[in-house]
Amino acid sequence: MNVSAISAPPPLLEVRGLEKSFPGVRALSGVSFSVAAGEIHALLGENGAGKSTLIKIVSGVFSQNAGEILIDGVEQNFHSPEDARRAGVATIYQELLLFPELTVAENIFMGHAPRRLAGRLDWREMRERAERLLESLEIHDLAADRVVGALSVGNRQRVEILRALSYDARLLIMDEPTAALTEPDVVRLFKIVRLLKARGVGIIYISHRLDEIFTLADRVTVLRDGAYVGTRDVARTDPGELVQMMVGRTIENLFPKVEAPIGAPVLEVADLVRRPTTRGVSLSVRSGEIVGLAGLVGSGRSELAQAIFGVTPAESGAIRIAGEPVVIRSPGQARDLGIAYVPEDRGTQGLVRPMSVLQNFSLAALGSLSRFGFIDRAAERRLAETGVAQLSVKTSSLEQVAGRLSGGNQQKIVLGKWLANNPRLLILDEPTRGIDVGAKAEIHRIMGDLARQGVAILLISSELPEVLGMSDRVLVMREGRFVAEFARAEATPEAVGAAMMGGSGTLRGAAA
């Protein structure tokens, strides 16, 4: 029986059953949701949940393995970003893709500039159109002929938005747009977003910041481990429910915290400064203690770790290891002091992908594995075999090329490489990002074991539940400074989240 006499117009964007796999990794497994014209639709999920893969598919950078994309109810087949642009989809990535040597107008129209005869650019037309675009977004303080390289980050982002609009975008995707903005710029961005919404542009807004989602968005979709969890009306949900959807279990079950005896301080940092990202940080980590370092993307946690580890040495401030003052100018020095750092980006910073599992395992311990400079191959092999066994690394052989392993196993190798040195301080930077739940649990178990053996652990993580579940103490960084400390008992998601976001940080805001 025909139910509706009047059918509602199809949504601006609808994705159905999207699936995408890369070698060794299933990035999306059946994601469906829709965005209406004039809707601000937030996309939420932990790092590695599949958000960036999803938007790359919708913007035509990747093609999906299965599933459909529909614009206005019509199925689309995007083979390139050009196709998506022509269909009215525009994306603003976190890494702004601008040409710093060219002007605002040139950047806006790069690739589709108005032309005259014989390919000559129509300068005047381009400038006029740029001015009209600026006007339409009520931007009065940006000139079309300014060189982009001289603009602030906030202004550059506006140039990107204008570029999207120059293609008559009807669906605008914004990936963590406020990650690098100052407060006034955020206010201006919100104004523009609301203007666009009023004009009927659909917006997919990806952000970690729950307060922004509650201020700006109409609906929010949550992804977890590449799967679709659910969509909620922002007005009818709350942060707790969203966090639960992101994580999947209650905190207690996921991160069994094992008690470890806590000893003397291994790391003490006082007023560490390295401009522009680290602005006077002091903290300490004791033997057997797991200190969690929470903060938003861009709060300077990795930079702090890299300053301690000597990759980008500190400009001023004091570091003491086991009570001894030290000056750390290189990672080699840090390693010799018993510090280990498992970096954030395992592909480019942690692992040498073309090398074998065996060679990656020994990379940080070559000094101790060699005599007069000659590598003791037998000892190297024993080290790798032990590491593979202890960390349960799944590999066909030690000669297997490391880059072919799954994310979780790669991460274990990076960890194992450092454990080979028996460090007394272990700094973990997003150790479980982008790996499957099983490997995650194993890494947490290993962390617990290490703590019980007396290793001091500094855990940097953007997954609040992980930080809250694993840490004895939680420190919060914001904009390069250390702003709050919570003992395990006091560390609740609301309190920590509020400290991360700053201000009174009401997570419950009326939707605009």
């Binding site: 796999s21 070698p23 060794g24 990794v25 299933r26 990035a27 497994s29 590695g48 599949g50 481990d225 590449g226 990759v311 290189s330 990672p331 080699g332 840090a334 390693r335 010799d336 750092y341 970096p343 480019t348 910073q349 942690g350 692992l351 040498v352 992908r353 073309p354 090398m355 060679q359 020994s362 990379l363 940080a364 070559l366 000094g367 594995l369 060699s370 400079g373 000659f374 590598i375 191959r377 799944k394 590999t395 066909s396 297997q400 072919r404 392993l405 799954s406 994310g407 979780g408 196993n409 490489k417 982008g434 790996i435 499957d436 490997a439």
Partner: protein, 327 residues
């Protein structure tokens, strides 16, 4: 994200057989046979030893060049360093009155300094190796020409020619030097932490740094070695041709890089062996010799070398792509 188990398909061909170096060695043997058949003077011991003598100058430089290219860099200034060191040798002896052994040591040390300067700017100032060594290619050659004013130096004492023209137990002197250098370089690359670090730096410099490897120091060392060997090569060269001229070493960079790339070292860094470089070196020398014996003049051989360079890079690149995609 759920992960798939990573289990590569079983290899049907043993890995060592499909390696670039083995294939090249096979081609080498075939080439030897063909050239030997075409010209009966070719496969005589005399001729082969002489070829060994001739290839030492390029060979000595090709060894540290292998290191440099493995780390993902390049050194185009080696030919100019040879020229400058040759001039330094001649002029410090003839015009400055150094005792000849001191002049030799000075020339070699100068080579190391030239290499060190390259390495310094590349690691501390972060000048890209390509443009840095193009600049020093000009600068060092310029100094050679400026100091010598295109005059040559002659008249070295008899003992001086032993390195370049003499024999030890029936084998040309410099060949012993080359063989020793090959062994040392090969062992260093394959079995020491230094060698392992080179591969890591070339494959992923950032990860190497994050793993505590002293990346800048190692790069400085390889560029210094490159200059040092160019200095030694200059000594061998002058000793062989009995004069010092400012145009010595011109074009060496082509032969050296061709030998390294032909031998299987990827121009992009991260892989390569000394053994491969040696095979590449021998092949190029034989190519030149074979061409000469069939009447092709010296200048034309660089046409062939240039073609070989491009072709072997092409081949290596497509083999690499297949290796990445397949099992």
């Amino acid at each position: 994200m759920t992960s798939l188990a990573a289990a590569p398909p079983e290899r049907r061909v043993p890995r060592w057989l499909a390696r670039h170096e083995t294939l090249l060695a096979a081609v080498l043997i075939v080439a030897l046979a063909i050239l030997g058949a075409l010209n009966n003077r070719f496969l005589t011991l005399d001729n082969l030893l002489n070829q060994g003598r001739l290839m030492t100058e390029v060979g000595l430089i090709a060894l540290p060049m292998t290191f440099v290219i493995i780390t993902g860099g390049i050194d185009l200034s080696v030919g100019s360093v040879v020229g400058l060191c040759a001039i330094a040798l001649g002029y410090s002896w003839k015009n400055l009155g150094f005792p000849l052994p001191a002049a030799i040591a000075f020339a070699i040390a100068l080579g190391a300094i030239c290499g060190f300067i390259n390495g310094f700017f590349i690691t501390r100032v972060k000048v890209p190796p390509l443009i840095m060594t193009i600049a020093t290619l000009a600068l060092y050659r310029g100094f050679a020409e400026g100091i010598s004013q295109a005059h040559s130096v002659r008249g070295y004492p008899e003992w001086f020619y032993f390195m370049g023209q003499g024999e030890l137990f029936g084998v040309p002197t410099q060949l012993w030097l080359l063989v020793a250098a090959i062994v040392i370089a090969g062992v260093a690359l394959d079995r020491t932490t230094f060698g392992r670090s080179l591969y890591a730096i070339g494959a992923n410099e950032t990860a190497a740094r994050f793993s505590g490897l002293p990346v800048d120091r190692i790069k400085l060392v390889v560029y210094t070695l490159s200059g040092l060997m160019a200095g030694v090569s200059a000594y061998v060269l002058v000793s062989r041709v009995t004069t010092t001229r400012s145009d010595m070493g011109i074009g060496y960079e082509l032969d050296v890089i061709a030998a390294v790339v032909l031998g299987g070292t990827s121009i992009f860094g991260g892989s390569g062996t000394i053994w491969g470089t040696v095979v590449g070196l021998v092949m190029i020398q034989l190519l030149k010799d074979g061409l000469a014996l069939t009447g092709v003049k010296g200048d034309a051989t660089i046409v062939v070398i240039g073609t070989v360079l491009i072709a072997s890079t092409l081949l290596a690149s497509s083999l690499q792509k297949r290796r990445d995609v397949g099992g």
